[in-house]
Amino acid sequence: MAKFSFLNVWLCACLGCICTTAIAQQDTTQHQLRTVEVFGRPAEVYAAGSRVAQVDSAFLSTYSSGNLAEALQARTPLYFKSYGASGSSTVAFRGTNASQTAVLWNGLHITPATLGQADFSTLPLSGIGEVALQYGSAAANYGSGAVGGAVLLNSPKYKTDGFGGDVKLEAGSFGRYFGSGSAGYRGKNLSYGLSLYKHQAENDFKYKDLSRFGTPEVRLQHAQVQQHGFTQDLNWQISPKTKLALHGWYTFSDRELPPAMGSSDTEAKQKDKNLRLMAELQHQSQLGQTSIKAAWFNDLLHYTDLSNDSESEVNTDQLQAEQTYTSGERWSLRGGLNLQRFAATNDGYHGRKDENRASLFALFRYDPVQPLQLSLNLRQALVEGYDPPLTPALGFNWKFFNSNRHQISLKGNASGSYRVPTLNDRFWVGAGNPDLRPEHGWNYELGLRHVLVQGNAFLLETEATGYFIEIDDWIQWSPNRTGLWRPTNLQKVESKGLELSTTATVTLGKLKLNSTAGYTYTLSEQVEVYEGSGSDVGRQLMYVPRHKAILTAEANYKSWSLLGNLNYTGLRYTSNSETSHLDDFTLLNLALSRKLQLGPNTLLLTLLSDNITNTAYQTMAYRPMPPRGYTFSLRFSIP
């Protein structure tokens, strides 16, 4: 009950702020249940009241040579912890941690079960069609790990008939080169796409070494990156009611990992090889839609330094079967089963470790009257040796005001979450703890959304969301009485915050403008600590910025376009005691493009500059990030 009154307070706060503030992304939950499509209802249909944001496709296309970490850091209110220009990069939503973020590709989890977190610097944008962000817990929809949020990746859809293709070449500062090519075909019943990319960078920029006498400017050593990979997608309409899709995604990266300033160089290197294959069969019958997805993933991680040579390999088999039944435009029910099998070999385990997991879910969407949408979801996970709780989610969207020009909706959501310990947490020899409990928690949120439309010339979409998340039995590695590091259910954490965003789209003759402003306020703190002194209770968790703001703008005039991202990240504490911190920073990126028409083909010339103001910043302490850099890009497209 106390929590609901808390939500009321948030609601008042949201109402008070709405006029002054602004937006980041569009809410895809607005597009639901309009028509009953034959195939492929996005899972967001069952996420009424929660915040799902689509990352702008023009931005993804301009920055397609980068990785997901760079793109989302610049474009969204999410905070990425990057171990320097070539190191790993992990994300956390709403004051939680990287392990509490689910990453799905075409609806299936791709995070390796060993470490339990995704390294976004190994996930290229090349070959990814759509990127959506689910804020807040969505474990009932997406399963274990969707505690703070989820990143939803989808393969590209081929929309132009016939053959098409493009080639992109880039050269940039600090020894950076990128090349990609794609080819596709779309016929009546068949579409096929192939894309390849290769990327390499020296990352030999200069930075101020804070550990040496006189803090001299030195050149970053040992930070080379090489990446390549491909994607392949096939969609085949076997019959009017049956469709088969095959997706393949291979990524390889070979990176040198420089030490933190002042730390000894151990010549660390890491190779990651990830192969992901999946097949999806969809069939429409009187009983609704049937979807069966089968996938096989192979994740290989090879880390070496002066004293280590460690290899970790996980084979994951996944099967997800779903049946969706939709009645008119009023209600829709989806029931399903997800099976996962992990086989992991790792130098840290005694031999191979296998684990089977299953979960059963039922997702229900009901629109009792046109302006009101309700969803109720349930998931029960079954894991060997564990007893994860039944995880529900309940949400609503209520469009309580709808005039010609204004639409205002109130939305809210209460959802449970859980996260099963990783294989490392359990099987690491000498440290793994088989008695760990799964993390579990709740997410409550309430938001307002306003849409203002003025003909075709002006569209303003504004959203404000307040949330409260609690996570108990939070798993963390820490030393025991004898100094041995091992995972424990260390703490209970509460996170609360405010997310504001507004997007304006203006068309004035040949000039088209699109601008988004967003701000997030995040308070995330320990409320209980089950081991040790607990002296940091009530303080902001490390590496959670209280404030992050973004301002993006895109202007198109005739064949020219200008894209800009301004992003402010507030100070972040580097421990849980609030006594040491990294200063706040502001980054500005600009991209200017000119499109040339060469017969039916187009040539796109782009000049990009990242970190134009040459800000010295770090997202992980003492890991220098790149200064101002330039990139020139050419893209030739055949329709």
């Binding site: 006498f213 000894s264 020899v429 009485r481 302490a621």
Partner: protein, 363 residues
């Protein structure tokens, strides 16, 4: 409950006293004279920080103000980082030698101002340091571990404290830890072996190895010129628990460098570390099985109950007051806390330090 109230009112008294002193300090307006800020009566806390994250720091707790100053190296050296994992610090005359384990260096500062005066670079995972005099020092070093996390034999480097250069290296055994100077010899505990090496400080040659219980890690000299060696026992996490051995205290007569007696601990799974001695050099203190133990130098059997039943990461004994300082490492996720106990083991105060406090150096 009564104890809690007691300590609480004591804390309140300390806080009041401290604030009173702070206010008088402000009136003096002499804060622009930092010289000698760290020369007063107090204790340095070595906060090792997180491995590979370069966030080691040193705190200074002043006994007169009851206040702790944090990150004093960074503060006195224009925001410079101290480095990665501070392992040891020794006061030698007016200099302090700060051993930075994973930065492969020893930072040298003026002990009173903490301003940098030099750096000894090119070391390999240095562990502990002692100085024979103002001109010559010794540091134990490890080489990077092998792939199975076992180690090569380490070395002791001889350093010219005027030029900050290594002048000689002496091979010892696996994982050399603490060293101690006594009777013209340097004693080196090799934690990855059962051996203590004896090096003649005139020739800088190994003149003898003494076998003790497996895993000697710390050394103290008592008032009767006996060298006490604390061994952890074999706790190799790669090996099954059945192969683990008990830790022990070995007493060595430095006149003839032979073990005269051994006190073996009862539990082979419990670890022992951080051997210290009080100012009168007649009482030993060490960490064993998650508690602080106290043992008289005349004892012949281990103590059965800890003096302080609490797990600490760092341990210190004030040579003047006999007070015991225990550091809680706070899971390495936030600042550690130092708890102060009187020689009878009653807590008398506490203060905050940095991340992972692992040792104390008394001024």
């Amino acid at each position: 409950m009564k104890k809690l109230n007691c300590s609480r009112s004591f804390l309140l008294a300390v806080a009041l006293l401290a604030s009173a002193l702070t206010f008088t300090g402000c009136d003096n307006k002499d804060s622009d004279a930092p010289s000698g800020a760290y020369a007063e009566d107090g204790v340095f806390v070595l906060n090792e920080g997180n491995f590979r994250e370069s966030n080691a720091s040193i705190s200074f707790y002043s006994n007169s103000t009851g206040q702790a100053e944090q990150s004093i190296f960074k503060k006195e050296n224009q925001g410079r980082l101290l480095g990665d994992v501070v392992q040891d610090m020794e006061l030698v005359g007016n200099r302090a030698f700060i051993v930075m384990n994973n930065s492969n260096k020893i930072e040298v500062v003026n002990a009173a101002t903490f301003q940098s005066v030099g750096v000894i670079e090119g070391l390999s995972a240095p562990r502990y340091f002692v100085a024979l005099n103002n001109e010559k020092g010794y540091v134990t070093e490890w080489f990077p571990p092998k792939e199975d996390w076992s180690y090569h034999r380490g070395r002791v480097s001889v350093i010219d404290l005027r030029t900050y250069k290594v002048v000689k290296t002496i091979e010892v055994d696996v994982q050399p830890e603490q060293l101690l100077l006594a009777g013209g010899n340097l004693y080196v505990a090799n934690a990855g072996s059962p051996l203590v090496h004896v090096i003649d400080t005139g020739s800088d040659m190994v003149i003898k190895t003494i076998e003790v219980a497996y895993g000697p890690n710390s050394l103290v000299l008592d008032r009767n010129n006996n060298l006490w060696v604390l061994s952890s026992g074999n706790k190799d996490w790669n090996a099954p628990a059945s192969e683990h051995t008990a830790g022990a205290l070995s007493k060595i007569n430095i006149a003839n460098n032979t073990v005269t007696s051994t006190i073996t601990f009862p539990d082979p799974t419990a670890s022992a570390s951080k051997l210290l001695i009080n100012g009168d050099k007649d009482t030993l203190y060490f960490l064993y099985s998650g508690g602080v133990h106290q043992l008289s130098i005349s004892a012949s059997a281990p103590s059965t109950t800890p003096l302080i039943d609490r797990t600490f990461y760092g341990l210190g004994v004030d040579p003047v007051t006999g007070n015991i300082y225990g550091a809680d490492e706070n899971s390495f996720a936030g600042d550690g806390t130092v708890y102060i106990y009187d020689p009878q083991g009653n807590q008398t105060g506490s203060f905050k330090a940095g991340i992972g406090p692992n040792g104390f150096v008394f001024n």
